[in-house]
Symmetry: C2
Subunit: 430 residues, 2 copies
């Protein structure tokens, strides 16, 4: 797979030919066409689309957050609207209150917040070795900041970008509103701008902030998951799924998130064909739509599985970037975990060392039913949040070998599950 | 160390302030001054220089390899003289014979080779997961190609760059001559140029090659290893060494090779001071000169250790790039290996999984005496040869967190060796 893989060229084609592809946009529909065409170009048994309804949010042309200091000097930040935010309907101006914890928000309360912007500036914790841990402990500000600040009468929300890198790139991502709580606009600024703004606030060198966003929440649209299959030779009714998500944020090219998972998932099926290995179980590659802002693809897929009475024995998602694979995060029964851990001796020579119980992935999550084993590929996480949801998540920032090794790590696991997996009755294991 | 490390800023200062630093050059002397100044800026007990004599080779102004096809079209390659080569003394022109194995060289023999350039085009094998394995199985062409081709009367040698990346960057590196065999010039060309040249040769679309190199082998010069120490509180006479090499090739900035090892080694001692941990053994940071083309620093250091009757119990070198650390390669006795493997449970939560017997490093290699335990830090190897000895080995291609995690991996190992290490008598282990 390190010699003849087409995953890198497929990723180039997706990133450069289609580009970013937010659910509901034209380019997302281009991506669906791209995926269908690509899957049809290989010798898979079936390629088909699953219709789903997706949210449709548009960024619009204008996104600005400027502030003036006490000398009247204008500071223009590197900013990006958070996905799902309302627009500002003109220019919104006001003071800023910096908040570094939920306790602080409560303490300052309505008296200190009403009529102002709330600036959530709690950074990702650099002392975690896993950057996903740091992200997980921080992203509540982005997801829920607007709704919680609105409860105290804030007029808008500014969030420090979710990255450990100190640079000028703003990182977008999903946010949501709460029923019966006012909707206020939300924007992310780069870590450097967050630092500068915080310094200005601390030293009383801040006068006024102005926010302008032309985002719109529009009516849902029709879109599709794109699916390909190789029929199982022994247990065609039992499905092993590999997948990633086709949609991406509307800045950058969605290269690591999740173009990598898309092309790796395709590569798994392609490798079975290229090696002439007929899988015992049905191998299904699912390229999900709408992971980023709704997970309608993941939910819709799982609903259909239930409705159709299909049996999935195993599902593996790659959605943590195209970096050197380190192992697997396993959400399964104790016996499934034990089975997968037993592969460690086979896989550790390929520098796959992590076989831990843990979270799998957003798209495959809804499949969880107590019997299917869900797995997330764990690549090295150090650089992921340098690019995640940022203009820098482009093809050039993916390393060919790292991407291909990820595909090989998924393929090896799928091969072992297909050969020795949970569903195979003992008498067939000889 | 992920919060307060200065290794990234130190690397910036070395790469941008000094730049590349080949032994014998002015900038190598700047690097010695930089290192001495930097080490003196921390609260170490001693900082001193060890004088060594180093080779002095100069690239000169001109390095060209052009070829014409049968239509008279000129092809200018991206090339770089190999370190240590003689110049061409004017323009050297001739036909090219492509060679992909030593057997092929022998088979073609003097009849096919005399008066021509030999083009060693055996690529690194992409199927090895460790790129160092692929490099090790390929670099004999660069090291020994000129001497072996000269035996058959070749006029010069062209070597495919040692990288798995398919791009336009030529990669330099050391080569050597053999006593009593003619010295012929040697040059590396980029992998893309190697591919194009090979295609032209295969399709008989090649007419003539011209090589021009103005390299010079000059008289040896005086240079220095730069050394800092924290005295041991219990066993001051027993030394734990950490090190990397200060010199680099004369293209790029020597960022991964081995600016990373230099700043990480400094960081180890700095962290002991910052944490207020008094080491039991003497901690010595050795920044070696001349790893790249002679290893005079490594040999000279080991000679002095022997002469002075010093005892080293442990030496760890970082010289495989500033990437996410994966573990350690251990060159020691079975009991030393066992001891270090026993740390695995302490270190694997930090994603350090490799604790294998293996090669340590060029600089510390000469210390080997049957009792000192030698260790090489093993970072993820996938991207190393993208940059190794190439113009792209610059500060910008080092990731801050990956660099810092490497420093943390070395520090943790040194801390454990100092606390529980081989030399501590059992009665002190309570």
């Amino acid at each position: 797979m390190l010699e003849r893989s087409s995953s890198y060229e497929n990723l180039r084609s997706l990133c450069k030919g289609v580009g970013h592809r937010l659910s509901g946009t034209k380019s997302a529909e281009e991506a669906v066409k791209w995926a269908k065409f690509k899957l049809n170009s290989y010798d898979f048994d079936t390629v088909y689309l699953q219709e789903i309804s997706v949210p449709h949010w548009e960024r619009g042309d204008v996104e600005r957050l400027d502030w003036t200091d006490i000398n009247g000097q204008l500071h223009i930040t590197n900013c990006t609207a958070l996905g799902g935010t309302i627009g500002t309907n003109g220019v919104l101006s006001g003071k800023i209150v910096e908040i570094n914890s939920w306790d602080e928000l409560k303490q300052i309360g309505r008296d200190g917040i009403e009529g102002k912007f709330v600036f959530f500036n709690r950074p990702m914790n650099p002392t975690y070795v896993s950057t996903f841990m740091a992200y997980g402990n921080c992203v509540d500000q982005r997801h829920g900041g607007a709704a919680r600040a609105a409860e105290y009468g804030a007029i808008g929300v500014i969030v420090r970008s979710m990255t450990l890198k100190f640079d000028n790139n703003p990182h977008t991502g999903s946010m949501g509103y709460k029923k019966d709580i006012a909707k206020i606009p939300a924007i992310a600024i780069s870590t450097k701008d967050a630092h500068d703004l915080s310094e200005a606030l601390k030293s009383d060198n801040f006068e006024l902030a102005k926010m302008k966003l032309s985002c719109k929440i529009l009516d849902d649209k029709v879109s599709h998951n794109v699916i390909a299959e190789i029929k199982g030779s022994v247990y065609p009714e039992k499905i092993i799924l590999v997948g990633g998500h086709l949609d991406s944020w509307d800045i950058g090219e969605g290269a690591h998130d999740d173009g990598a998972g898309v092309v790796q998932s395709i590569e798994v099926l392609k490798t079975f064909i290229a090696m002439g290995v007929k899988p015992k179980h049905t191998l299904r590659c699912v390229l999900y739509m709408n992971e980023e802002n709704g997970n309608r693809g993941g939910i819709g897929y799982a609903d259909k599985v239930k409705k159709d009475g299909e049996t999935h024995i195993f599902a593996l998602e790659s959605d943590r970037g195209g970096f050197s694979p380190r192992g697997y995060s396993i959400d399964g029964t104790p016996s499934q975990l034990k089975k997968i851990k037993s592969f460690e001796t086979l896989l550790s020579p390929y520098q796959l060392h992590i076989f831990d119980k843990g979270y799998s992935g957003v798209d495959i999550g809804p499949l969880k039913n107590g019997s299917v084993c869900l797995v997330g590929l764990i690549p090295d996480s150090q650089r992921y949040f340098d690019f995640h949801h940022a203009p820098t998540d482009v093809f050039e920032n993916v390393n060919k070998r790292e991407l291909e090794l990820g595909a090989a790590a998924i393929t090896s696991m799928v091969y072992l599950i297909d050969k020795y997996g949970f569903s195979v009755p003992l008498e067939n294991k000889k």
